[in-house]
Amino acid sequence: MKRFLLSLTLALACAGTAQAQCFADYKAKKDAPLRLHYGVAQIGGACDARSAARELTPRLAASGWTLLQVQSVFGPEGLDQRKNSAGQYYLRF
């Protein structure tokens, strides 16, 4: 138990130091009838717009959405100000 907790903290610390949490806000659509949404999603890979788009496209396509544009990438500090706008699409995909 002690060892497990230790390894967990270690892993978390490693993850935290090696790669800060990365988020992206994006715009997506669905056709016929046209539906739009603005959402926030967590990015696992490199923290830039292009790789975020590459990562988000298949995730959104799985539920029928088409990625229109990745607005920006940001750290956890930017989450709060976008939470309201994203609504139900806040960290959904």
């Binding site: 715009k27 016929a32 009838p33 739009l36 603005y38 229109l68 544009q69 607005q71 706008s85």
Partner: protein, 234 residues
């Protein structure tokens, strides 16, 4: 010297060619108009694309209410596109009607030209018999509703000729004489039949010419029954 004769078959052939060309031209016009109609009128996707572009271009259009409004905008565009589609159908139907009218007008125009030429030819050719009615009680023959009184003998000849014509037969003078007198044709003279024909021609010809050309106005005299302006003296 130019060839100034036209035959009826000539007119029919050129008329047919004109009709085909005209109908083809009208159909081509219709198809071009329909294509233009279906290409230029925007479909519902055009509205969606415009709203989508608006959504992408404006970075701060991120609020939920704003996005909802954009969606409503796109939906109203789609509804408008539906009305456009019905307009398009109406316009197309009108186009089809207009084409039908144009084709009908063209065909009637060609027919009219044909009839005019034919009328001119008939006028030039003189009398053309459209109906021949033999009335035995009145001893009268009606040619195109012009009545001509005949003698009994001429009436017999006329009737025999008419019957023979209906059977597509040609009668010799002795056969005519034989039929009228009731003897066998071998016993009759050719000249007797020829005389009958001559008398028929004389009475009928006289009356036709007096009806069509030299008119007799009672107690006043005689005059030509033709228009003044068609007379030319060389």
């Amino acid at each position: 010297m130019p060839d100034n004769t036209t035959s009826a078959s000539d007119i029919r052939r050129t008329g047919g060619r004109l009709v085909i060309a005209g109908v083809g031209g009208i159909l081509a016009l219709l198809i071009a108009a329909a294509l233009l109609l279906f290409i230029t009128l925007p479909d519902s996707r055009a509205f969606d694309a415009r709203v989508e572009a608006m959504f992408i271009e404006n970075a701060d259009l991120t609020g939920q209410a704003e996005i909802k409004l954009l969606e409503i905008l796109a939906q109203s565009g789609t509804a408008f596109a539906d009305t456009l589609a019905s307009y398009r159908l109406v316009i197309f139907v009108l186009l089809v009607f207009a084409t039908g009218m144009m084709i009908a007008a063209l065909v009637f125009l060609i027919l009219l030209v044909g009839f005019n030429r034919r009328m001119a030819q008939i006028e030039r050719a003189g009398i053309q018999v459209n109906s021949l009615l033999i009335s035995r009680e009145e001893n009268t023959v009606y040619l195109n509703n012009l009545g001509f009184k005949l003698t009994d003998a001429a009436m017999e000849t006329m009737s025999i000729l008419a019957e023979a014509r209906m059977d597509d037969d040609v009668l010799s003078g002795s056969e005519i004489e034989g039929m009228i007198s009731g003897r066998s044709a071998a016993d009759c003279e050719e000249a007797a039949g020829a005389t009958r024909i001559k008398r028929l021609r004389d009475t009928l010809g006289n009356q036709i010419v007096s009806e069509l050309l030299v008119k007799n106005i009672a107690r006043r005299g005689y005059m030509l029954a033709v228009e003044k302006d068609v007379i030319k003296v060389l």
